[in-house]
């Protein structure tokens, strides 16, 4: 139990810490690397919840697929210019006030519901049929949403192909 708690706090701190570093880095490649770390740490939390399939999907899709494309695009950008740009927005005070308000709300919500914060006990045995459970949910309960999402992605893909083709000609 101690080990499980330690692991959870390790992954949680890693995720939050690298998310913070990601938004504060000037160097955009460093920021991307910290985003990858955040995604991997989140995957670690999934694994601790015995959601193996989600864990692997998180790594495969977000860390392994989407972020590689991100970094690929970032490398096409001229970094030296980006690094020298001066921050030009003057809305620190507004943003700070809004963030403070949000933080107060979150803490108030947590404080108000502090009695219900105890987590349910973890299942005594491993959830062995992880992939099957996800597939079952997707293809029975959420079939409609699943198909709509697929069609959306297909449309986006065809759109990307069409736009890419037009540029070449």
């Amino acid at each position: 139990m101690v080990l499980a708690n330690m692991l959870f706090y390790f992954f949680a701190l890693l995720a939050v810490g690298s998310a913070l570093l990601m938004v504060t880095r000037r160097n955009i490649v460093h920021a991307a690397v910290f985003l990858v770390t955040t995604l991997l740490a989140t995957a670690g939390v999934f694994l601790q919840l015995q959601a193996e399939f989600l864990f692997v999907t998180q790594i495969l899709l977000y860390a392994g697929g989407i972020m590689v494309l991100f970094i690929f695009v970032i490398m096409l950008v001229n970094l030296d210019v980006e690094m020298l740009l001066v921050q030009f927005n003057r809305q620190w005070s507004v943003a700070g006030a809004l963030a403070f308000a949000l933080a107060v709300q979150v803490f108030f919500a947590l404080w108000a519901g502090r009695d219900t914060l105890h987590l349910p006990a973890p299942p005594s045995q491993l959830a062995l049929k992880n992939t099957e459970t996800v597939a079952d949910a997707l293809f029975s309960h959420f079939l409609m949403a699943f198909e709509i999402a697929s069609i959306l992605l297909l449309v986006a893909m065809i759109g990307a192909v069409v736009m890419g083709k037009r540029r070449v000609e």
Partner: protein, 447 residues
Amino acid sequence: MSHLIPSSILPLVVPVLCAVVIVLVLPLLAGYIVLVERKVMAGMQARLGPMRVGPHGLLQPIADALKLVLKEDIIPARADKVMFWLAPLVSVTMALLAYSALPIGPAFQIADLNVGLLFIVAVSSLGIYGIVLGGWASNSHYSLLGAMRSAAQLVSYETAGGLALASVLLLAGSLSMKDIVQAQLDQGIWFAFYVPFGFFIYLVASIAETNRAPFDLPEADSEIVAGYMTEYSGFRWSLYFLAEYANMIIVAGIATTLFLGGWLRPLARYRDHFPGTSVELLDAVPPLLALAVALYCFHLAPKQPVKIQKLVMAGAGGACAVVALALAGALFAPASVMQGVHGAFWFLLKVFTYIYAFMWFRFTFPRYRFDQLMRLGWRFLIPLALVNVIGVGIAIVLREQFDWNPFLSLVPTTLATLGVAMWLVNDDAPAAAANLEATIAQSGDGE
């Protein structure tokens, strides 16, 4: 023994031992694969290859490793130091991590994950960060170009490779590596014979994913020096090298497990015994093979020019003889030991055969141009892989709903896939020529 170890960590002992063995053996194995590669290359080019260090160059990998460790480690002045330092580590870590779910025989697997195959694919796809970040951090144009080529290539071929793996998953009905091998035993056939196109697509995609010739554009020496590792030297460079060869073994291991029956013996269902014993006839093959290699080494030993080389050659023969004895001894051991030892033998034999095919391709085919690489990936392999997956799906419906013979149900779909493949090839050739002409005309206009 068991009372010495607390019960809470007892289940971890065997996996940790396996992990230590893999981490220790892998660099040595990678070194010797390099030696074999140089020997194969030499053979194909009618040369001798490394001959000086040890008999027939048998100690060359050790000399190379020493050289790499002792070399000066240079970090370019304007490189991003932290990333430069981190990138090779990422490559090597991810390559080694993938071994944790790879079953080397029924007894030798660190963890039999429920989602084992996906885990291996996911983790080994993270290795690309090592290449991309290393290329970027070097602050050199060659490195950056190599890194970007690598990223583009990996993203393109991972899709086709993943679809090829999906066709096997449909047949096996599981993501666990162990269950996939078990499914091949139960169905009595290696899946390479069920889905030959899946195997072919995965073969091509795995060569491209490991950046091997003819898809070695990320490190094409004649164009961009050494690609992403141009600025690396000494130990860091050897880490990249280790990661590359570790990845080769990983893709070979995936292909072996999914398409070539994993640790299963060829003809695993043929179980006739030697009369009067419980030893199966075909299980005599591994010790005899090892014995033949040992005898060959002993035959070569007296012909070596120097005395020390004679001794080392005889030592190599002795090692093979010990392996032969171990394999023979395993025949009379309890069934679990016997299956573990022989399973590991067959698995490694298949893995090395697959890697040998890689070497063959490397020395047979000229390197692709980048547009050819992309066309092959996107316009041939991915459509073919899609048709293949749909075909396997139809075959499974035929098998389960209409009670067709499993093998027969795959014949029409495989033929249909073949038809699509030929159509794609024919359809693509004139378009490719026209495209090339247009590109040439365009670049002529620009000048």
